[in-house]
Symmetry: C2
Subunit: 164 residues, 2 copies
């Protein structure tokens, strides 16, 4: 059985730029029910993962996050104005100060190398990017569940293994 490489497991994933409009990014997550977006820097290199929960944190007024019991007494009029928090903001403004850059693997890395990195950083996805002289080119991502499918599939333990 040939060695499975990162490039074989790579799937497309919605990404936005740090300079993209924050409200557009929130809409993209909401409409496609995405748990997060991959954020690229000005040069198109993976910079961060923006989880949907972080976008919610930006939307919810700070005094409500500090004391969630206040949420029950904020009237609906105020709730309607929540997304004004995103008006005029960029995706870069919404990133958590502590957001780590996403783990990045090389397209030639083996499935086990990807698994080791994912296990180490406990990330639900890794970015797959090729390093070239003119910068880093994003190919897509590998999700933890897709990789799990590959690792289990190799041993024929999946009932729906293709071609089985």
């Amino acid at each position: 059985m040939p060695t499975v490489r990162a490039r074989d497991l790579t799937v497309e994933y919605e990404s936005v730029c740090v300079d993209s409009d924050a409200l557009d990014a929130a809409r993209l997550m909401a409409e496609h029910k995405l748990p997060g977006l991959l954020v690229l820097d000005e040069r198109g290199e993976p910079k961060a993962i923006l989880p949907a929960s972080q976008m919610i944190k930006v939307l919810v007024p700070a005094y409500v996050i500090e004391d969630p019991t206040l949420a029950a007494v904020v009237d609906e009029q105020h709730a309607d104005r929540l997304c004004q928090a995103l008006a005029g903001r960029r995706v870069g403004d919404c990133l958590s100060k502590t957001a780590a850059p996403p783990p990045i693997v090389d397209p030639d890395d083996t499935a086990l190398e990807v698994a080791a990195l994912m296990a180490q950083v406990r990330s639900p996805l890794v970015a797959v990017a090729e390093k070239a002289k003119d910068g880093t080119h994003l190919l897509g991502v590998i999700t933890a569940s897709h990789l799990l499918h590959e690792l289990l599939g190799k041993t024929g333990t999946l009932s729906s293994t293709p071609g089985a």
Copy 2:
């Protein structure tokens, strides 16, 4: 516009019991491409979220996680034996020692209360459960992206708002 409650936003979600077979749980995640599973305790109460990345951590030998460069030299024969790590193990054995119990909301909590909790704990999902005399009954979960859809939808900022 009537106040939206947690029960209105609740969706079904795949769950397993702490006593479920670990390999079955891994297969469930892999086949349905789930980022994680909700784990219930013996009484059916939400106990933890088991992310797919944690399951990968259980599969990958410890010496490879400590030194991912070893992954490149582990031959394919060994990779084939990875899922033996799950044989005879229970879901409870796979949980991280530091796994926090999932945030739980009441079906009557408002969307803003749910948002405040999600923002506070930065969880991609919260469990919705009803407390009764005979214990806690799970109704389902609310995902961050679904909640984001609700919060943005209220203000008509989504192009695909139903009935718009």
